[in-house]
């Protein structure tokens, strides 16, 4: 039995998942919320994005269950000796991807390559020659890479794509069958409805996205055991593995930092809007001070201070991973502490408006305490603002992490993140011959993640803020006129920065 390790970010991430589950239950039971979320569920772009996000979320959950594996008992040890655990903390994802993680080459190699990317002195037939050496793992099953490589890659790619296609067909059939059961039609009828977009939920768009993902996954699964699909980095680590590991960092930064802004923003925003006068002045002063400091500098100042603290107390952290994790945790907390001003300002304005409304006046006349009014009458009615801003901020925080890592105040250098990947790509692009795959992998994963999050966020925004719906683009005039018609498929939903 391995020893489970609970890192600070793991715990918060799981608490957050529990909270989301509670919210989902609450939303399902509240008719108005259900109705609003139904708008999101019917949006093809948002639901396709949700499929991608779901995959990313699964990866980051798997990467958030950490353990230290049990070491085999030392020879000659007593039978009842205390079990010894490995000093390396791994996650479930690490365990699943053990093969590519351990297949370390010496240095750079191109995607699907069989040879190293830099020459070495090799001993061939008693003579020393400068040559590109074969990789230790990538393509090591080929005897004559020059001639076999093409055929092997094509063969495996086709097999992988075929496997992905089979899986995709299965998913279509399963969804079709499940839907057929719930709406009581035949499977064929149900599939036809999905294919002709006659369903309420945009199953066709979701299944198309899922099929693309499955095809890609099948292709990767077929090649990864034999090659480094996205190449290797300077120290020979698999790039694809690093990109997958980076997902968790992005999710943690996005979610934890958003979460950390909420208490400040909600408490201060509502207090300022409700009490007005002196309280309002004080809170406004506080957030003007915070927002008047350029955010990168403010974050840098905080992070430098934390770094001094961490360096001063090395005994607090058992492993390097714990130290890196606490830095990630604190970075998210700092982003929260420094970033609540915008939301607080919005909530203050909303509360100002609400507290003049009749039902609040009535509550006051009935003698409900201030706290009671704020908790029961104001808070639930500003939650939509909180939700909109939270989902909109998520993706910008992921983008921000990359910038902060570049400035040197981001995550720990040992933590895999999109920022650190881009950072190393900087020197690789000016190298000769150029190393482009590291940047490509970071780019592909980051764009997929951020774009999905933005599409989903703008659908949430449109659902909760009906005014935003008017700004959605339409491809044809008829679609614009027929407001009741279903929105065009694949339409990128209106996305505007939060006011």
């Amino acid at each position: 039995m391995p020893k489970f390790v609970f890192l600070a970010t793991d715990i918060v991430l799981f608490l957050l998942l529990v909270a989301i589950a509670f919210y989902a239950r609450h939303a399902l039971r509240t008719p108005t919320l259900r109705q609003t979320w139904r708008v999101v569920v019917r949006d093809p772009a948002a639901m396709s994005a949700a499929v991608v996000l779901g995959l990313f979320l699964v990866a980051s959950i798997l990467d958030s269950i950490h353990f230290r594996s049990l070491l085999p008992p030392a020879p000659g040890a007593e039978a009842n000796a205390a079990p010894a655990y490995s000093t390396r903390t791994l996650s479930v994802l690490d365990a699943l991807l053990a093969a590519p993680r351990e297949a370390r080459e010496k240095t750079y190699s191109i995607p699907l390559g069989t040879h190293s990317y830099s020459k070495e002195s090799l001993l061939v037939g008693g003579k020393t020659v400068r040559e590109y050496p074969r990789l230790q793992f990538g393509g090591s099953h080929l005897r004559d890479p020059e001639h076999e490589w093409m055929g092997d890659v094509v063969k495996r790619s086709l097999a992988g794509l075929a496997g992905g296609a089979v899986a995709a067909v299965l998913v279509w059939l399963i969804v079709g069958a499940l839907r057929a059961r719930s709406v009581r039609t035949s499977v064929g009828e149900s599939l036809r409805a999905i294919a002709t977009r006659a369903t309420d939920v945009p199953w066709r768009a979701m299944l198309a996205t899922a099929s693309l993902l499955l095809l890609f996954a099948g292709w990767v699964a077929a090649l990864w055991p034999w090659y480094h699909v996205f190449g290797t980095d300077q120290t020979g680590n698999d790039i694809l593995y690093q990109a997958i590991k980076s997902i968790r960092t992005a999710v943690v930064i996005g979610s934890l930092a958003t979460l950390a802004t909420l208490p400040f923003a909600i408490v201060f925003g509502i207090l300022a809007g409700y009490y007005k006068g002196k309280v309002d002045d004080a809170i406004q002063y506080l957030y003007t001070v915070l927002s008047s400091i350029p955010s990168v500098l403010l974050i840098a100042a905080f992070v430098l201070m934390i770094q001094v603290y961490i360096d001063k107390n090395p005994q607090m952290f058992e492993t390097g991973l714990e130290r890196a994790d606490i830095r990630l945790f604190l970075l998210a907390a700092i982003l929260g502490i420094t970033g609540w001003a915008g939301l607080a300002r919005l909530l203050r304005a909303e509360t100002l408006k609400l507290s003049e409304l009749d039902y609040v006046q009535a509550a006051r006349a009935f003698g409900v305490s201030d706290r009671g009014i704020m908790r029961r009458h104001i808070l639930p009615n500003v939650m939509h603002v909180v939700l909109i801003v939270a989902v909109l901020d998520f993706s910008s925080l992921v983008l921000y992490e990359a910038v902060l890592s570049y400035v040197g105040v981001g995550v720990d250098p040992t933590t895999n993140s999109f920022g650190t990947m881009i950072n190393s790509a900087r020197t690789e692009l000016s190298r000769d011959p150029v190393v482009w795959w590291n940047l490509l992998a970071a780019f592909a994963f980051m764009v997929a993640f951020v774009l999905s999050m933005q599409l989903f966020a703008s659908a949430v925004r449109e659902a909760f803020d009906p005014r935003a719906r008017a700004f959605r683009p339409h491809r044809t005039k008829s679609a614009a006129n027929a407001a009741a018609a279903p929105p065009p498929t694949g339409a990128a939903a209106a996305a505007t920065p939060a006011a």
Binding site: V289, I293, A301, M305, L429, L451, F471, R475, A495
Partner: protein, 325 residues
């Protein structure tokens, strides 16, 4: 009006005091000067003598707030708080931890920062407005749909990608411009062309979508319907009526950013080797030079507050309906 401005300036000074006290707390009470010295000298085993010497050289050996050993008003002025924080209000930044005059550095570095930031800002506004007006002009057509999709896609790309790819494409492959650097005279154009272009492109997506909603909001108003019912063509309505009215909030909101242009573009300067304030700040963060970071925090806040005051004033100038009280 004058009264109002005086009050706003007073409030600004109050904010600056807050910023000052806040950064002072952050830098000196969370960690002692000893920690800073140890970090700056480097290494785990730094002798106490070396730390003391480092502190004396930089004036960090004094008490934080109250110097009991000094006489008279010097009890207050011979402290770290006075020398390092209060003096900032006189724009006396003192020396950086590496011993150079911060004030001099800031003065010489403002030029390059402005040379990069101002063209980026002005051309950026022109391009963004043109793009968003086109989106509105072609609304409900395929052109808008694809323009919109491109903008959404551009929003999802980190600015770092634009910089890296831009440098790679224009400097390495096409060899049109130098990869980084800075020079005076006409060479300036060559050095700044790429950073300016990338600065515009990286912000185009999000800003164009934002402006687009502003134009669409404007286009739904009554006066636009009146203009159309008079029989004016869509082009005239859009460019003569909507554009002018929507420009008002856009211009007043950009006034707030104007002073911050002096700070320069942090990432852009550092990537392109432009010796401006942005790269100065990043270098200071990397070298963990707390004195410079503190000074830049102060300068940044001053510029932000100037921007706030300018915004308030520009509202009244642009829109006579708003009166300051």
């Amino acid at each position: 009006m004058v009264n109002y401005i005086i009050r706003r300036v007073g409030y600004g000074v109050l904010i600056l005091i807050g910023v000052n006290v806040f950064t002072f707390m952050l830098f000196f009470t969370v960690n002692t000067p000893d920690d800073m010295a140890r970090m700056n000298i480097g290494g785990k085993r730094v002798s106490q003598d070396a730390i003391e010497k480092w502190k004396v050289e930089r004036g960090y050996d004094k008490p934080l707030f109250w110097n009991g050993a000094a006489a008279g008003t010097q009890k207050l002025t011979k402290t770290i708080f006075y020398e390092r924080s209060v003096q900032l209000f006189a724009f006396d930044f003192g020396a950086s931890d590496s011993g150079r005059d911060i004030g001099y550095e800031i003065r010489t570095r403002v030029g390059p920062s402005v040379a990069l930031a101002v063209p980026t800002f002005i051309l950026g506004i022109v391009v963004v407005i043109a793009f968003s007006v086109l989106l509105v002009f072609f609304r409900n057509t395929y052109l808008e749909f694809w323009g919109f999709t491109v903008a959404v896609f551009m929003m999802a790309i980190s600015a770092l990608f634009y910089i890296l790819l831009g440098q790679f494409l224009f400097s390495r492959v096409l060899k049109l411009v130098p990869i980084s650097g800075f020079a005076g005279g006409w060479d300036l154009v060559v050095f700044l062309a790429l950073p300016v272009l990338i600065g515009i492109v990286s912000r185009l997506g999000s800003e164009a979508l934002f402006y687009r909603t502003m134009f669409l909001e404007e286009i739904g108003k009554d006066y636009v319907r009146t203009a159309r019912s008079k029989g004016l063509s869509e082009t005239v309505v859009l460019f003569r009526h909507v554009l002018r009215n929507a420009m008002l909030p856009i211009l007043t909101s950009t006034v707030a950013i104007l002073p911050l242009l002096f700070l320069g573009a942090l990432i852009m300067e550092s990537f392109f080797g432009i010796p401006g304030l942005g790269s100065y700040t990043i270098d200071a963060i990397n070298a963990q030079d707390f004195a410079v970071v503190r000074s830049m925090v102060f300068v940044g806040s001053v510029l932000y507050i100037v921007g706030l005051i300018l915004t308030d004033i520009s509202y009244t100038v642009a829109d006579p309906r708003i009166r300051l009280s």
